[in-house]
Symmetry: C2
Subunit: 799 residues, 2 copies
């Protein structure tokens, strides 16, 4: 773990091919003085202004924190930390001359071809995502089938002759081994594949580059990991990871090549930039949701609610198309697999079963009850999140060694199996066998023709447990079973989320909610005198599931549609909405949603929808980083190389200013150039000799930049001779000549709005003569948030 004051070296991070967008200051407002001195001997003129207005006390305080490196250990992995290791993505096209020339060359017909290509790619994303979902589903079903068969026969054997502890041992060992493999794969091959991947995709769509998140290797590890963790009997679902898988598929297909496999199909080259990739990733995420829940509209809404910022109608239609194709593919393949070709009515990985209800499915007086359930869901969700938050902090602090992570996963698997076994063993809830009592019913100590109801909740995949809680007739579960199950499963699933395994939280949440919802329904029937027909426990299980899931993840619109599409019933749409909105409002009183918590714990500079409401008192002047390293329009190669090699102090974008001589005076902005562009320029040695100003090498094309995208080589790998260092480089053609700018007086909300709406990475702050005064990046904005005492400022650190 890096020390804040003594940062990790640039070279080390460059080798990992991830160069951080480190702001030159540890705290934007702090120790500018110190920095100024440090840079005073810089090879290049720097532009800066010491803005100490209104920052008196705070400034001093922060400076102290910063200079005393002994207390640094304390703030590591604090909630109030913003990591400097995350780069931003370029969601604003660099409209340099090369780009503009290409765009101008393309006529209307060619643009139509591009548009058609986009649709084709979305179709392919849908198909592939659907196929992956099928693969996961079939593998889980087959492997879990084998596992349950083995254990069931073992239990059946030992039930008769005694010695069930062998069965327990077998069960626990089997689960532990399977989970261990899954955890090993994730921990040692691709740690970013852990969890559901939804927070990571949220960050990606928000504009933060999470290393390795959309790579092929991640996809492979994710798919294997999720199969193993579901089969291993953990309290997890396979739906969340589908969203991540869809996103990876999208990022891969849209580029027409695989950098990992070193295979370039020479297609879709037009889409090799962050802006286009983001659009496809939204489609992929939507296709993932769509495949997971059989909810194409829900998928689109998920993608928009969690990811998008600028709503574009055409893009939405393409996303919709991808979702549709994805559901259809899954449906088609699974219907053949299930020997029911032509049956299109059960889409999605999770199938809640159809809620076929009579017309008067709910009454007015049930609405307040549902709202109450929403409130309970919100509170339970908040408790879940708070516990998980605490647990995750603990994990980050103490369990950062990979083998420890694997051991924890194995432990959880063993405990899950043990708890399940003990619960089943001591349960006396025997139910008569019915036609639809499930595949793996355990008789245990029940009479012949009966089965153990507790086992039907534990001894199966969580998906089928949910289905049973929704649809089994009244009386299938007794209240004690449900209560105990809720209690234990709550802690188990809370412990499980955040383990180093690939797994989602959707299904455990639904299961948990369905259990207490059903319990709630049963209690209602008991309390009211008459044997009422309205309190169908299945209906209350559905509402409970919605409330619990809503309380944990805090989605409303998309979740409503997902639930409606997954249950195949619109009638419950309205109560589900009520429940979800209540759960969201109640939950938000206590703590954030689970995904947002995890994003915060990762110290990701995530930009929310709006700037903090009370941030009008801040202006760009106070927020920006300064001084900024600027380049001249014609710059010496040596200076560029030195700047790029510098480990601290530099952003990933450099304002380009007019050649005004090294007077140290701020100069007029004329463009903006990215680190990655400079690297490509250096690599191709696009130099001009000082004497005759003639081009040494041939002209660079846009293709050269696209070929290098997205893994630009580190500066160290580029050799520049001493002669070349004296050459000049003309940046005019390659810089973005029209970067967005704001004046120094612009308020933070105004800067934020511009930044967020346009997906910017660098925003140049200029004075009233268009001279560069500073640079605003994502971290400068993400730093501010509403805390208990009004506006808070997070610390920046190289964690």
């Amino acid at each position: 773990m890096a020390n804040v004051a003594n940062r990790v070296s640039w070279s080390g991070r460059e080798q990992a091919e991830e160069d951080g967008e480190s702001t030159p200051l540890l705290n934007g407002a702090s120790n500018r003085q110190v920095r100024m001195e440090e840079f005073s001997s810089s090879i290049l003129f720097r532009i800066g202004q010491l803005s100490t207005v209104d920052l008196g006390d705070e400034n001093q305080e922060l400076q102290e924190t910063d200079l005393s490196s002994t207390v640094v250990k304390e703030i590591l992995h604090n909630e109030n930390l913003l990591s400097l290791k995350y780069e931003s993505l370029d969601y604003d096209n660099s409209e340099n001359q090369l780009f503009m020339e290409e765009e101008r060359r393309i006529n209307h017909a060619a643009f139509r071809t591009v548009e058609v290509t986009r649709w084709v790619i979305c179709g392919m994303i849908g198909i592939l995502t659907g196929l992956i979902a099928c693969f996961i589903d079939i593998m889980v079903e087959q492997l879990a089938g084998v596992k349950y068969q083995v254990i069931k026969s073992n239990i059946d054997k030992f039930t008769e002759k005694g010695g069930l502890s062998f069965s327990l041992l077998l069960w626990a060992t089997l689960n532990a081994v399977i989970v261990m493999v899954g955890s090993l794969v994730v921990a040692f091959i691709e740690p970013v594949a852990a969890g559901s991947g939804i927070p990571q995709i949220k960050c990606f769509l928000n504009g933060v580059k999470i290393p390795h998140v959309v790579r092929l290797k991640t996809l492979v590890v994710k798919v294997c990991g999720v199969i193993l963790s579901v089969v291993g009997g953990l309290a997890v679902g396979k739906e969340g990871p589908m969203i991540h898988s869809g996103a990876v598929v999208a990022a891969g297909i849209s580029q027409g090549r695989s950098t990992s496999l070193k295979k370039d199909f020479k297609i879709f080259e037009y889409f090799r930039r962050d802006t286009e990739k983001r659009d496809f990733v939204s489609a992929g995420a939507a296709a993932g949701v769509s495949a997971a829940f059989g909810a194409p509209v829900g998928g689109v809404l998920f993608s928009l609610e969690e990811g998008a910022s600028f709503w574009n109608q055409l893009l939405t239609w393409r996303i919709f198309f991808a979702s549709m194709i994805s559901t259809f593919t899954l449906n088609f393949v699974l219907s053949i697999y299930n020997h029911k070709p032509g049956d299109l009515s059960n889409p999605g990985l999770i199938n809640f079963g159809r809620f076929d209800t009579d017309e008067n499915s709910y009454k007015y007086f049930e609405l307040p009850i549902f709202i109450g359930m929403g409130a309970i869901g919100g509170m339970l969700g908040a408790l879940f999140n708070a516990l998980n938050n605490w647990l995750t902090m603990f994990r980050i602090r103490y369990l950062h060694r990979r083998c420890l992570q694997v051991i924890e996963a194995v432990l959880v698997a063993a405990v899950t199996a043990t708890v399940s076994f003990v619960m089943i063993y001591y349960s006396s809830d025997c139910q008569p066998l019915r036609e639809n009592s499930g595949e793996y019913t355990l008789q245990l100590f029940c009479a012949d023709g009966e089965y153990n109801a507790m086992a039907s909740a534990f001894f199966t995949t969580p998906e089928s447990s949910v289905r049973r809680l929704f649809h089994d007739p009244a009386g299938s579960f007794n209240p004690q079973t449900l209560g105990l199950f809720t209690l234990l499963y709550f802690f188990l699933s809370c412990w499980t989320y955040g383990l180093t395994v690939s797994a989602g939280v959707f299904i455990p949440s639904l299961l948990l909610g369905a259990a207490w919802g059903r319990l709630f329904g049963i209690m209602l029937t008991t309390i009211s005198n008459d044997s009422i027909s309205w309190a169908d426990p299945g209906k209350y299980a559905l509402m409970g599931a919605a409330a619990q899931l809503g309380g944990i993840v805090r989605m409303t619109l998309s979740l409503t549609v997902i639930m409606v599409e997954a249950t195949g019933n619109v009638t419950y749409g309205f109560p589900i909405m009520l429940v979800l909105i209540t759960a969201k409002i109640v939950g938000d009183l206590f703590i954030e949603g689970l995904y947002d918590l995890h994003i915060k714990l990762q110290s990701v500079p995530f930009l929310h929808w709006e700037a903090p409401v009370t941030s009008h008192s801040l202006t760009a002047r106070e927020v920006m980083s300064t001084p900024v390293t600027c380049l001249r329009r014609r710059e010496k190669v040596g200076i560029i190389v030195d700047i790029l090699s510098k480990t601290t102090s530099n952003h990933n974008g450099f304002p380009v200013v007019e050649n005004s001589g090294n007077t140290g005076q701020p100069s007029r902005l004329c463009g903006l150039i990215l680190r990655s562009q400079l690297i490509v320029l250096l690599k191709h040695k696009v130099f001009v000799e000082r004497e005759n100003l003639s081009l040494i090498q041939g002209r660079l094309k846009l293709k050269d930049f696209r070929d290098a995208y997205p893994r630009f080589p580190p500066i160290q790998s580029i050799h520049v001779s001493q002669d070349e260092r004296d050459c000049l480089m003309d940046l005019t053609e390659f810089m973005n000549p029209t970067p967005y700018t704001v004046p120094q007086e612009a308020s933070l909300p105004r800067v934020f709005k511009l930044f967020r709406a346009l997906g910017l990475r660098h925003l140049v702050v200029v004075d009233n003569q268009n001279r560069v005064m500073g640079l605003v990046t994502r971290k400068d904005l993400a730093r501010y948030r509403i805390g208990k005492n009004g506006l808070e400022e997070l610390c920046l650190a190289q964690t």
Copy 2:
């Protein structure tokens, strides 16, 4: 009609309280030379640069068109026209000192109160919109009931004793009179209430101020108009107008006062600006859809798909809340009205009836059939739109006198009744009476116990016709009846849309589609040999309805959800999506959607989602209006009054520049001030005497601006004495000190993106020293679009 070269005077337009944001140039690129001369004797220094680069030929050509005022009559009401009479709305907050001081004063708790208030307002919007929907529904049902009863008894009487022409006369006269009243109300009291109002709301959300569109008077006229036109038997629906009604309700409630009624409740003053109003209007439109179709999620999506640009999660949740409340209110009131309190399962004005289907509701091989139906719907929709487009052009050109409009409406009503009657009379499609054969069955010449099937399509409200086509068992309609009905209804509904009555096109489209869809289903059954069970005509009616509506209005995502929510069945979601996307793609090959066509015909400067794809060759320099009238930071009152009084040449926003003396040199930008703000300043006489620079009047508050919003007085109403003219006005406090700017080299797509994403009204174009070079407004951007020969430029005219 105004002559283009010789514009309508400013004062005339000011009296109508609608001051246009007239760009100083007739054609941005044209006759700058002429203008320059015209303004050379201007009282104020002007900033400008003659940018004739790259415009050689085009420039000359346009100049010729422009100078020959004889050809002007020809281009009036042309499709390629952009009207100058529409103002823009201010969707970008003017962050002047007053505003910032207020925002800084408000602490976190106060912001929470504001947020809660927003939710409360959304709830109120939902309730009121729901109640209005109830009122319309009940009134239509009662009045139509009386009408049909009268006619039915008359027909029954004359069927026996002959002389049915009396019945025809009665029917036609009744309809004509009812429609005449409806049309009179609309034409003479509030013409903007004509049609469905959806194009107008789209424009409002896009940022165009359509005069009177969200006023109370409009709402009253709309409600009366829609009741009368539906009762009058026109081929119209009452659903579209609900969207407009919801929007007016939202705009009214959120302001906490009614300017028309001169009643100020002194609440919600914080929301008295365009930005906030827009957000509430989105919620109102969503609530309207929600009430119309019982589709809360569909309403949110409609609002987003048709209106929004920047997707904000919090806003979406509020919109969702308003939609939910609206459906619930409607449902609640109607269930009491229908004597079934507690029955919540039939929400919405239109109720498609529940599609309760068995599991295998459709087969794989039906999907291509559905796609085919989508294509047919797309083509029929395109035909409908093309005919209606032609008709609307004709109407704008020749039927602009109000009495002519009323006469046309009456004519259509009489023709509709006659056609219906003749169809029923000559129809020999007798069907046995069933339990659910509808309320007003006509026996006519059918045997006892039978009824005339044609009558059941014509002699009822369109809503119940749709329901019957969806749900009546196979064999209820014979193919000839359906074919003839489709043909006649196509032309009737096409003729009807665009009449000067309040009415929507949703239901006629659905009815049309349901008719040919059912016909299609019957034909399928006939073609295939076996009496197959899969080709349920009701299912095909549903698909046909979706295809036809999709082909006409070209919505996909929101329409899918609306259809799913209105049918209460998710199973058909996937085929409906397929149908809608196909209809959209096929239709777009021929002509735009109906709403977009009407927006275009109104010459509204509407900004689409993206700049035309081939517009990269244009830069801000070519697009901007120049010269721009600028004000100095301290300006003479006389000069300001003169500028505001000038009828031509001025925008509604003026860049404020540093006081650099009247050198004629371009000066540095330091702010932007709106015409409306200047008006308020003049009204309150916030002057500084030239000598002692002391304030004459007390300090102006933000409240003064809010009180004047949105109907700012015309400049003529403000008296400024000769002494006062010599005073100075200090704009520093009131101007927006940080307007967004772009450099001259920025490409059109880049400018467009900034403008659209942030909802700007004025975008200042500056050179590299931050000196004002020009101003980009909505019209400068909306002017460019893709035509048959690539990029086209529309003419600007004062129509």
